[in-house]
Symmetry: C2
Subunit: 372 residues, 2 copies
């Protein structure tokens, strides 16, 4: 077995999920994540956890959903709920054979299935849950990369020094927590957002940081009162449609105009979902420098160092005061902009990041143009 | 998809497990049983059942068990127990990549793991559970057959007219239930067993018949008071050891002598397990004529038409009066004898089967040598 698979398993079990002796662990494995599942099973055995493996296959889901009589709707699967309610940890090892395996399942059917599974999902969110992906040929293909190159890419993103990255991200979290307003200035972008009263999440790929993806490596908060213009220059796929060079204009917290070089219609559809879809739910700063290219996979793209992403739609509860529900919406769609050049991020008028470098980093240029 | 896979799935879901609308179904899939799992998911969707797929991999079990610190033993997995207690149906689709995947796990470790999972197992037995196998390359290899030929073989065994086979097997069950003693006469064999007070199981591959394997196709009961000699001419593998031409001699219900052309030591080990290991726990008559060769897989071999098998060790509760525990033992080891030639099976002195033909079949030769 590739030593990196073992390292991935160890990071997942120790750093991310904090598995302890006696934990009841559900290990959800995709069909092509078998090798990682074997490595994780070994880690779980060493730690004295109890293991049940489940099988997550897009082809099984598609066969099941397309066969269901849609009119009857779906029931809550009581047995799956019982499993998750009794579980301490849920580890999802993504790794299918075809990232489009469920492409022909009607959206309405998915939505009904999703609705019926609400209690199951909530039970999962009550565990120490972590989602990761095993680098597969299908993900390599999605990223337009060879399998070998994709594996290099994925392990560079996953096998970080998470402890020191968490410490660095903690600095940005502190600045965001103490700040009142954020300004993002870049090519075709000048946007201000309010953040006072909001709490940033140091998404350091560990349940100890309320962070549930491996890889991660972003700091995010829930902005409001957005004003100005922002351009997103990172191409991506949204609802199966290629989207490029989206431009959003905000007034009084709401999108008042949108354009896109490609995929303008799908952006329009997203914005029209509900009232919350026109407001921002997330401001995220990517800080994982192990990710050095876009692969059209939001799990990786939004964590890339020297990028900033904004999501229209739902805000995460973790960013909000206890009595506030934040921006409510059925959608949460991320859009990404490169901030490695001609860019600055300000908090309350102070430059925190310029041209991709944070103020505490070598190479940061202060206001007067001198490098630190 | 091969149409036979769909047929297999339909037989499993309809005939074997009697799945109904709203059933909570656990679908346990081996790594190479993916295609069958997809077909079963479709059947479950059509029937309005709720589906959770679990993943059963010898490699994962091996990694987990070898990593566990053996001295600590194992805990009961509470989450898996909760899942099974909430499930209505459990479908096991065997299909690994290597039938020897757990060969280097020490027996003592397996035993501890098995003991810790007693409640999980009992919860599974309380569902409408059915075990089947997807014909894989590893099973073909175990059977010393090509993949294509093995698939023909497996589907011949699985895709029977179960309803009419169940009816035929019901005839033998009635004779056994009403009878007091069975005598088996064949080359080097003359054995008598008492069966009065015992109930035969019509193992017709359906939970409706208290039969939990697909394929099945045997009628079995729990004999006692065995006297005489029996020779088993079907070669098999027991505890990883090849065994050939076993001969057992019984007095007053117990094995008093044993020999074997090959594997005599492993037979001796089995017989010395406990007191019950020297007594018979099962007399089974194979009636599945779709199985026409030995493949060193007990699930198929013991169901083969024109064979009889006897097991030393534990008896099945279903064969016993409610207040009797029957033959108690930690083992249950089946041995098979071919009865297609020079053989007869008598119940209370009446010949029920001669040279593989039952008295109700064409080709049955009655006492005076006339064919029916």
């Amino acid at each position: 077995m590739d030593e990196r698979i073992r390292e991935h398993a160890a990071v997942l079990v120790d750093w991310s999920a904090r598995v302890e002796d006696g934990d009841d662990v559900v290990l959800s494995a995709g069909p092509d994540a078998h090798e990682l599942a074997v490595a994780v099973a070994e880690e779980l055995g060493e730690r004295g956890a109890n293991l049940l493996a489940t099988y997550s296959s897009g082809e099984i889901t598609r066969a099941y959903l397309t066969a269901r009589d849609d009119e009857d709707g779906f029931e809550e699967p009581a047995h799956e709920r019982a499993l998750l309610e009794a579980a301490d940890v849920y580890l999802s090892l993504g790794g299918g054979r075809n990232t489009s395996a469920t492409a022909d399942v009607p959206g309405e059917t998915r939505q009904k299935y999703r609705s019926a599974r609400k209690a199951v999902r909530e039970a999962r969110y009550d565990t120490r849950w972590v989602s990761t992906v095993h680098p597969t040929r299908s993900l390599a293909q999605q990223a337009n990369m060879s399998y070998e190159a994709y594996r290099e890419f994925a392990y560079d993103a996953i096998l970080r020094d998470w402890e020191s990255l968490a410490e660095e991200m903690g600095r940005l979290k502190t600045l965001l927590d103490e700040g009142s307003a954020v300004r993002l200035v870049s090519q075709n972008t000048d946007l201000t957002m309010r953040i006072d009263g909001r709490t940033a999440v140091n998404s350091a790929a560990s349940v100890a940081y309320d962070s549930h993806n491996l890889p991660s490596g972003e700091v995010f908060t829930a902005p409001y009162g957005t004003e100005g213009v922002v351009a997103f220059d990172v191409p991506m796929t949204i609802r199966g449609e290629p989207v490029e060079d989206v431009r959003l204009e905000f007034e009084d917290g709401e999108v008042v105009d949108h354009t896109a070089e490609r995929g303008e219609a799908v952006i329009g559809d997203v914005l029209e979902t509900d009232a919350g879809a026109r407001r921002l739910g997330e401001l995220g700063v990517g800080m994982n420098r192990g990710i050095d290219r876009y692969t059209d996979n939001i799990l990786f793209d939004e964590k890339m160092g020297e990028t900033v992403h904004l999501a229209v739609g739902r805000a995460y509860d973790a960013c909000l005061p206890e009595d506030e529900s934040g921006n409510d919406s059925a959608v949460h769609v991320d859009l990404i902009t490169d901030v490695s050049e001609d860019s600055r991020l300000e908090i309350d008028g102070e430059v925190v990041q310029r041209n991709g470098r944070f103020r505490w980093e070598d190479g940061f240029e202060s206001e007067d143009g001198r490098s630190r």
